[in-house]
Symmetry: C2
Subunit: 215 residues, 2 copies
């Protein structure tokens, strides 16, 4: 499988996890910053290899084979992110681009040994689940902070937006995975929040609250 094929599978996998319905050509093109015509070409190719179910004009979905392949790429991506953060001391906003490269390294033995070396983690540095060697995922119950109400208390367990900018903002506010967050006030006008993180009280916009997963 080529890098490009792997990237398409991964993108379809990620789009599926949010919408559930069949994925449109344009949605893939937009996410991958490529042209719809290129997507069509690749969908034919993936369909030929039985990795996706593709009907002209109707969108695509992953076959079981394609889904497993996608999960293995996600597994590699997230394990490498763990390695970079936990062993090489990278910060969580620096690892994604490097993992985008490392996820394409082909060696089952390597990834399984890496998994063991890291102590078989179930989540990556952004709180996202790591599929095991069989593609199984441990789902963790979590809600967006924006769905919380006044006086509720939770633990930050993940981020929805994993952009470097957002992660650096969280660092600045001293919000990390494991931080306790208490809703002090919810402003009805703009849906912003007054929250307590550890000992500090801060105000965050609704956009921020909509990208933080809490349990």
């Amino acid at each position: 499988m080529t890098f490009s094929e792997e990237n398409y599978l991964k993108t379809i996998y990620h789009l599926t996890s949010v919408s559930d319905a069949d994925i449109s050509t344009n949605a893939i093109a937009e996410k991958m910053e490529t042209k719809a015509s290129s997507v069509t070409d690749m969908l034919k190719k993936l369909s030929e290899k039985d990795l996706v179910n593709y009907i002209k004009y109707q969108g695509v979905s992953l076959t079981d084979k394609g889904k497993l392949a996608a999960k293995m790429i996600v597994r590699k991506h997230r394990l490498w992110e763990c390695f970079l953060v936990e062993k090489l001391d990278f910060s969580w906003d620096e690892v994604h681009d490097i993992a985008e490269q490392l996820e394409h390294i082909k060696s089952e033995k390597l990834i399984n040994k890496l998994d063991d070396f890291l102590g078989n983690p179930t989540e990556d540095p952004h709180g996202d689940p790591i599929p095991d060697a069989q593609g199984r995922i441990i789902k963790v119950e979590k809600q967006l902070l924006s769905e919380f109400e006044k006086n509720q208390i939770g633990i930050c367990v993940g981020v929805k937006d994993t952009s470097s900018d957002f992660l650096k903002y969280l660092d600045k506010q001293e919000i990390a995975l494991g931080s306790q967050i208490e809703i002090i006030e919810k402003e009805s006008f703009d849906s912003s929040f007054r929250i307590r993180v550890g000992t500090k009280e801060i105000t965050i916009s609704n956009k921020i609250a909509s990208n933080l997963y809490i349990k």
Copy 2:
């Protein structure tokens, strides 16, 4: 720089280290298991980028820029091999092919952090030197076992042939980097050797002796 360009540079670098003279198109083709015409095409491209000095029909050599680039790829290859052996517990005959992939990962920060994580090793699992971030190499004095004479004693510090088959043979004979080797007898008829490795006495062919570096 593409994977392919990197592989050509690396090949030219390795061929240079044995012959010193300009490298021929055919030598590159043979080493890379490709066709001479493909090599010619790539040499033009590398020459255009000032990575090699290339004169039609006359062979190539690396420019300073090309040599440094090649060294950085070799650096990555050998550091990853160290990682695989020392941290992930691979054996020395399993790591080359995986390192062939990992050597193309682009991130200076990654490779320098990996270097630190490994304790800044100067040699890879096969006894080959690891260039530092500036491309400097610590040369170690070493001779082929085949050049040794009766009664001489030395330490195994490297292998010339790094094929899996040869490395597995050495494992079987319990010869590893650091093993003490004493020449008991040199058979003049076929240039085979009777040697002592640790407590054991074994006979090795000249071909074996010509692929073991001793200090």
